[in-house]
């Protein structure tokens, strides 16, 4: 075990995967000589050389499109998109090609590409270095969508993503790249997809979140405890596949649910989670489901702290669900 930041854990995961398998390679803007603008790929060029750590021209469609070709051929590319906000030139490649290749070829061409992208607000990044648009990818059949919140999960889920036979969108919460540290197991300890992590258990209300919202929600749970409200925190970790069972089990116990994400509310992932609870946990619910999310606005620069779900907003929403019944 070693104590690492989340971004160091990503770096460790990449290095270990590349050491274990010569077909694994990374590509993206500034990932080589510069080691990535967040240093996620620091040191990889020196260790693995320029055929496996590719500094690409500035073209997201070229990065993901060529990664698809590498995967068709049999390599295991890990493509970095510098910020999730810049992924849209590659959206066509991801939605039209990557997600559908296995299906439309009748299983002849699997396409195991991992697309890593730092996402989310809280770094004073304004409109185009802050967004959380995971729902676009969750909506597309054929993609797995992963969002770690701890260093151990960042490495363990990344190793699972690289080993996976399907395309994976791997979203890294850049707000907590360095603010969160934790013990990370050495070696190939994978964290399986489709298994939510129980951060703390409680009996009155379930708080569902992922990525950079986990520290916020955990702090909210502590604050609620001081008010005599016992809150359970579930870190979803993988949005696709979703651990439906853990979500339903939790609400079966507490009867109340608060869904928290930074993304805008309308058609956000919380809408899907709320629908799931309405369809399958209706008779367990003691209060309306609450959502604490970003607003249906573009991501603001000066007022990002207003936009982002805060401990206070989560506490207020949880309190409301408890008061409702």
């Amino acid at each position: 075990m070693s104590e690492l930041t989340l971004v160091q854990a990503v770096n460790r995961g990449l290095a270990e995967a590349m050491r274990a398998d010569p077909d694994v390679l990374v590509l993206g803007e500034d990932v080589g000589v510069n080691g990535g603008v967040f240093r996620a790929t620091d040191g990889l060029l020196k260790e693995f050389g320029a055929d496996r750590v590719l500094d690409t021209p500035l073209s997201e469609t070229g990065i993901v499109g060529s990664a698809i070709g590498m995967a068709l051929y049999g390599l295991k590319p890990v493509a970095e998109i510098q910020f999730l906000d810049f992924i849209y030139p590659a959206f066509d490649q991801i939605v039209s090609e990557l997600a559908k290749m296995r299906y439309r070829s009748g299983g002849q061409y699997p396409c195991h590409v991992v697309v890593r992208a730092p996402y989310g607000g809280g770094i004073k990044g304004g409109l185009y270095h802050s967004q959380s648009t995971e729902a676009y990818f969750c909506h597309t059949a054929g993609l797995k969508v992963v969002v770690p919140s701890t260093p151990a999960d960042a490495k363990g889920l990344l190793l699972s993503a690289i080993a996976d036979e399907d395309p994976v969108i791997f979203l890294e919460p850049k707000r907590i790249y360095r603010s969160v540290t934790g013990e990370v197991p050495e070696g190939a300890t994978r964290v399986p997809f489709g298994q939510a992590r129980s951060v703390r258990s409680g009996t009155d209300v379930s708080l569902f979140a992922y990525g950079a919202m986990i520290p916020v929600v955990t702090e909210a749970a502590t604050a609620l405890e001081a008010e005599g409200i016992s809150a359970e925190v579930l870190d979803l970790r993988t949005l696709v596949p979703l651990d439906e069972e853990a979500v339903l089990r939790s609400v079966g116990r507490t009867g109340r649910a608060v869904v928290v994400h930074e993304a805008a509310r309308f058609c956000g992932f919380g809408a899907e989670l709320s629908a799931l609870l309405a369809e399958k946990a209706f008779y367990s619910l003691k209060a309306p489901i609450a959502r604490v999310t970003g607003y249906d606005t573009p991501f603001p620069y000066a007022l990002e702290n207003v936009y982002l779900p805060s401990v206070e907003r989560v506490v207020a929403a949880a309190r409301e669900t408890v008061r409702a019944s």
Binding site: I68, R104, S105, G107, E165, V240
Partner: protein, 349 residues
């Protein structure tokens, strides 16, 4: 009825043509002729079946046969084909069975892609023919990645990226040529300029003098070739493939040709093509040009033509018969292959 327009003659002596066609020139020409007849026969038959409602859709490649046959014959098994819209014949020439392709056209249970993609969108992994989407240009970037794979595994092979004139305006044309050039990867960019992107003529697609000229902006060689001249197609493709196998820089070949049918079975070109287009296209019919030249040079006679035509008729007929006797894909084909293993139950199933 108007007389048959004069066919532009191929400008070679027999010796000149044999010089570029490699060790067995007569056999190559006969094989090419045979494939062009097969393709022409299949196009005509399938368009008719589409009109009768027996297949859902068809996109003919009539007029593009010379490039497709030359690419199929000049490429090697270890090369990869990333197709655009009209390269199905390349898969067949490389060894994908005709009957399997016809099963695909009928989207039946024997379609290797289980009826998931529209007709004319086959996948043939056994001949390194990658599944195509209907999105224009995306495969050009894929070819760069395949080239990177060949480089990293030290394989002396080439990724052929096919695309039409319209695709030269797409994002991935730019991305693909740029990435391949910077990485000096073994990618051959094959532009089949049939002069129409559905209704938009190539002069409204670009202000560049030729499409091949665009390659220069990426630091690459670009060459325009007569795409209706089988011998020229063969020479250009085999030469470029050979240079790339020996570690040469990527190249772009622009094959100028004539779309001889509608864009697809859903298109009505009388709405936009000038009245003289059909005659100009017929004058550049690659099959008629080759046949005329082979006759002149004593390489083709009535007996051979009849034999090849009956063989093609019979092969197409048999494949259609087999497809029409095959049921639709099982319902399970709807939900399989979304993921390697079902990630969760598919809603509604």
């Amino acid at each position: 009825m108007a007389g048959t327009p004069a066919v532009a003659p191929l400008p070679y002596t027999r010796a000149q043509a044999f010089n570029v066609l490699g060790p067995k020139p007569e056999e190559t020409l006969r094989t090419a002729y045979r494939w062009m007849i097969r393709a022409r026969t299949l196009d005509a038959r399938m368009l008719a079946l589409q009109r009768q409602g027996r297949v859902g859709f068809y996109g003919a490649a009539t007029g593009q046969e010379a490039v497709n046959v030359a690419a199929g014959l000049a490429s090697r098994p270890e090369d990869w084909v990333l197709p655009g819209l009209r390269e199905q014949l390349v898969a067949l020439v490389r060894g994908h069975p005709l009957d399997r392709y016809v099963h695909h056209l009928f989207a039946d249970a024997q379609d290797p892609a289980l009826g998931r993609n529209m007709p004319c969108h086959p996948t043939a992994r056994e001949v390194h023919y990658v599944s195509m989407s209907s999105v224009i240009g995306t495969q050009i970037s894929h070819a760069v990645g395949v080239g990177r794979g060949m480089r990293n595994r030290r394989e002396a092979a080439v990724a052929l990226a096919f695309f039409g004139d319209g695709a030269t305006s797409s994002n991935d044309f730019h991305a693909g040529l740029n990435l391949a050039a910077v990485g000096r990867l073994p990618v051959l960019f094959v532009c089949t300029n049939n002069q129409w992107a559905i209704s938009v003529p190539v002069e409204r697609q670009t202000a560049a003098r030729t499409l091949a000229a665009k390659a220069a902006a990426y630091g690459l060689a670009g060459t325009r070739v007569d795409g209706t001249d089988l011998v020229a197609c063969w020479a250009a493709l085999s030469g470029a493939l050979e240079r790339l196998r020996r570690g040469g820089a990527p190249e772009m070949l622009e094959f100028l040709l004539y779309r001889m049918t509608a864009h697809s079975s859903s298109d009505d070109p009388t709405r936009y093509q000038p009245a003289d287009w059909a005659a100009r296209a017929l004058a550049h019919d690659p099959l008629a040009r080759l046949a005329q030249w082979m006759r002149r040079e004593g390489l083709l006679d009535d007996a051979f033509q009849t034999e090849v035509q009956s063989e093609a008729d019979e092969a197409v007929r048999a494949a259609i018969r087999a497809a029409e006797a095959t049921p639709a894909p099982p319902e399970a084909a709807l939900t399989e292959d979304v993921f390697a293993r079902p990630a969760s139950p598919i809603p509604g199933r």
